[in-house]
């Protein structure tokens, strides 16, 4: 398109300098429109990330229930069996402890497994291997044996799936030294963090969210490049603000952004931080933000006691106490197993109104 217009500008002859400038300006904005309008679902982002890492490194393989012939229980591994064959995409029997153990053993011996849990609730059947065989090995062996494995799958509540399918495991895994715990939100997060996780020499717990899989996000050209990678341990400021800092991760980022819109209407400018990495936690970004705004609201979907929010509050109180103008606020899921009934489930999870209310409380705008 550039070429045609340039030729017409040159051949036209009658084009004045100003009209040429106008033309070029129009072309430039047309190009940036085209770049910004590229969208990708989180599902495709994850799929492309695994695909590219598998083609780049033959030691990477995928293992899990229904990842092959069924194309993935949530279609994240779609097409991988056809592309890489059954030697690199393993459909396992329903035996989490067994196949997680096999994955860890393969990582000990030098391969790079990507182990999928159909939901992270099922990882409880394999948690011994994640913690004791994977997380602690590099330490116990004094650096001789590192475990370059990725455990990934949907985490947290979905819609109406009951108590045994809805728990959030971020806090549990993030409390273990030796593990890295990541929680993407957008498609770009998903792609960049998963690629970083697969390339990482340590065990990574990658917490996705079932309800985000189908959501589309704009994605930059840079993120589509096959060497794109996001740094582990760095949070992202999704929205700049000056009145209150709201930190969160995974699906709740969407809720918090909506809450920030509502707060903006009322004159409160909220700074939204997407944690991206639960362990290591980006305390520097969080504290710098709190020192700027003087108020903190932390949001998560999981159980309140000993949650990710608790850790953030502790960190802020320890490091930025004199900057705080209001008590720190925690919004978490209700302290109950997830009920099945639709109205109770809505009550058990943080909603946009809860976040708005807490932010206003922190800004002393309401009781």
């Amino acid at each position: 398109m550039w070429g045609i217009l340039r030729r017409s500008a040159v051949d036209g002859g009658g084009f004045s300098a100003s009209s040429l400038r106008r033309t070029r300006f129009a072309l430039v904005s047309a190009r940036s429109y085209a770049a910004g309008s590229k969208e990708m679902t989180v599902r495709d982002a994850l799929n492309s990330a695994i695909d590219e890492e598998m083609s780049a490194d033959p030691k990477v393989f995928v293992m899990g229930e229904e990842v092959g012939q069924y194309q993935g229980a949530y279609k994240i591994t779609k097409g991988l069996l056809e592309k890489y064959g059954p030697e690199r995409v393993y459909d396992t029997p329903i035996t989490e402890a067994g196949f997680t153990g096999i994955g860890v053993g393969a990582a000990y011996a030098g391969l790079k497994p990507v182990v999928e849990f159909m939901t992270f609730n099922f990882s409880m059947q394999a948690i011994d291997h994640i913690i004791n065989s994977a997380a602690k090995s590099n330490y116990m062996s004094a650096g001789q044996i590192n475990v370059p494995i990725v455990f990934r799958g949907p985490n947290g509540a979905a819609a109406g799936v009951g108590a045994q399918h809805s728990q959030c495991y971020a806090a549990w895994y993030a409390s273990v030294p030796g593990l890295k715990v990541l929680a993407p939100y957008s498609a770009e997060d998903a792609r960049g963090l998963l690629k970083a996780a697969i390339r990482d020499p340590d065990p990574v717990v990658f917490l996705e969210n079932e309800l985000l899989y189908g959501e589309s996000f704009p994605i930059s050209e840079e993120a589509l490049d096959s060497s794109f990678c996001l740094p582990i341990g760095k949070a992202r400021i999704e929205r700049e603000g000056k009145d209150v800092t709201i930190t969160t991760f995974s699906k709740m980022v969407g809720f918090v952004l909506k809450a920030a819109e509502k707060l903006a209407e009322e004159g409160i400018s909220a700074e939204v931080i997407n944690l991206r990495s639960i362990r290591p936690l980006d305390r520097a970004t969080i504290n710098a933000s709190v020192r700027k705004t003087s108020r903190l609201v932390t949001v998560e979907e999981g159980f309140p006691q000993h949650g990710v929010c608790a850790e953030i509050c502790a960190s802020v109180v320890e490091e930025s106490f004199s900057y705080l103008d209001a008590p720190v606020e925690r919004i978490a899921g209700a302290d109950v197993p997830m009920p099945y009934a639709a109205n109770l489930e809505r009550l058990a999870l943080p909603q946009v109104e809860d976040i708005v209310r807490a932010a206003k409380r922190a800004c002393y705008r309401s009781k």
């Binding site: 229930e65 229904e66 012939q69 069924y70 229980a73 069996l81 056809e82 064959g85 059954p86 030697e87 459909d91 396992t92 029997p93 329903i94 035996t95 402890a97 067994g98 609730n121 099922f122 059947q125 979905a158 819609a159 109406g160 799936v161 009951g162 108590a163 045994q164 399918h165 309140p304 919004i331 978490a332 899921g333 209700a334 302290d335 109950v336 197993p337 009920p339 099945y340 009934a341 639709a342 109205n343 109770l344 009550l347 058990a348 999870l349 943080p350 809860d354 807490a358």
Partner: protein, 426 residues
């Protein structure tokens, strides 16, 4: 026969698997393991535990005992029994079909796993149990709950998430509990119910031996073929045999775990063989035939009640629908589905009752009509029931709500009458 069967299987990782093989590789196999077309007679499954009988004398093969009580007439059931079985299977089928309709209308949500095609197993076993016997199941538990006696209204309301449900709307499709009927769940994780069932059987034995109560209760654990690759299954087989627990392990082998064929995930697919390895009889029965299942169940339940220990029963069955209502069910071959649809347990029982003059078509039609009305009434009831109140969110977390701790005023939180009105901010 068993060894030749194993040898014909293309094992995962072999050269043949390089191409995407069509999922149905079962057809050419000669053994009657899949697709048994035996007519309704006394179970004639030959592949029974007998090899180890010499070594372990107290464990008797089921086949031998059944042979001993030669029936004088050729009928296996009376008219009353037949009608009870028929009604139970029709209830299971109609209920599940109604669930599918309601799901697509948005009245039900989340994960719903339907039992169509497997009714013979539930009816065959559970109709032999008393109210105080326990049943433990998986997420495919609606029909187990119904057979055990939980009312259709209670189950349907639970599925709609209403307060009149058997778990007040807090459990959902996969978590049907009923203390009154000793339905101990409804578990989402496969294999999770097996240790729980083993524990219930343990309690039964404990009551008898330690508490000196008169307790003949048995427990039946239902689970699928996928579960048989899970460690908990083996751990419980070992302990049940070791402690001689009154439990029956019922494998509903429907050949598929979501999209994973049983043959692709199991090194030795004949599950009944795993019983003798742990010292209990292993029986294989045609799970599409309620009368055969019932005969095997009778013997297994009697064994358990007599204190002779556990039995492993593998029922070859099939689910007519997908794994759940969200499963597109693309991997199963149409020919396989048609083959099992032809062996529909309800049609088979109907044929048996009519041919043996135990019931007329008219009587069976009356039953079908009665069940249709019952299921529709259950839907109306569930629709009209209220959703759980806000205060229910914090109820039933603990049996002793002091577990919520002491509030800022120094009193237990649960003593504050406004305690359950809070939300996520509590």
């Amino acid at each position: 026969m068993a060894t030749s069967f194993s040898a014909t299987l293309p094992l995962h990782g072999s050269q043949e698997n390089r191409l995407l093989l069509p999922p149905i590789r079962l057809a050419p196999l000669p053994s009657s393991f899949l697709g048994s077309t035996r007519s309704l007679t006394i179970p004639s499954s030959r592949r029974l535990y007998h090899a180890h009988a010499a070594r372990r004398s107290p464990v008797v093969g089921v086949q031998e005992v059944v042979k001993e009580k030669k029936v004088t007439n050729s009928l296996l059931i009376t008219k009353e029994e037949g009608l009870v079985l028929y009604e139970d299977m029709i209830l299971g089928r109609s209920f599940e079909d109604m669930c599918a309709q309601m799901y697509y209308r948005g009245k039900m949500f989340g994960f719903v796993h339907l039992y169509n095609g497997q009714e013979a197993v539930s009816t065959g076993f559970i109709k032999l149990l008393t109210q105080s016997d326990s049943v433990v199941s998986t997420y495919r538990d609606h029909v187990h709950a119904l057979s055990k006696g939980v009312s259709a209204r209670a189950v349907m309301s639970e599925l709609f998430g209403k307060v009149t449900g058997c778990c007040r709307g807090q459990g959902g499709s996969m978590h049907m509990f009923s203390k009154e009927h000793n339905m101990l769940g409804g578990f989402a994780f496969i294999g999770e119910g097996i240790p729980v069932a083993t524990g219930a059987a343990f309690t039964s034995k404990y009551k008898r031996e330690v508490l000196k109560q008169d307790c003949e209760d048995v427990t039946v654990a239902f689970f699928g073929d996928g579960t048989c690759n899970n460690g908990q299954f083996y751990e419980c087989l070992n302990m049940a045999a070791l402690y001689k627990l009154p439990i029956i392990f019922v494998v509903e082998n429907n050949l598929w775990a979501i999209g994973m064929s049983h043959l692709r995930s199991t090194s030795d697919p004949e599950i009944w063989k795993k019983g003798p390895a742990f010292g209990m009889p292993g029986v294989h029965v045609d799970g599409m035939d309620v009368l055969k299942v019932r005969e095997v169940a009778k013997e297994a339940v009697m064994r358990a009640r007599r204190g002779e220990g556990p039995t492993l029963v593998e029922c070859e069955t099939y689910r007519f629908r997908g794994h759940s209502l969200a499963d597109p069910d693309e991997l199963r071959d149409a020919a396989e589905k048609a083959k099992y649809a032809a062996r529909d347990p309800i049609t088979a029982l109907k044929k048996y009752l009519v041919e043996n003059k135990l019931a007329s078509e008219g009587e069976l039609k009356t039953i079908e009509k009665k069940i249709d009305e019952l299921v529709e009434e259950a839907v109306e009831f569930a629709d009209a029931s209220p959703q759980p109140g806000r205060s229910q969110l914090l109820e039933n977390v603990f049996a002793d709500p002091k577990g919520f701790g002491i509030g800022p005023d120094g009193r237990y939180r649960c003593e504050d009458p406004k305690f359950t009105e809070g939300t996520a901010q509590v």
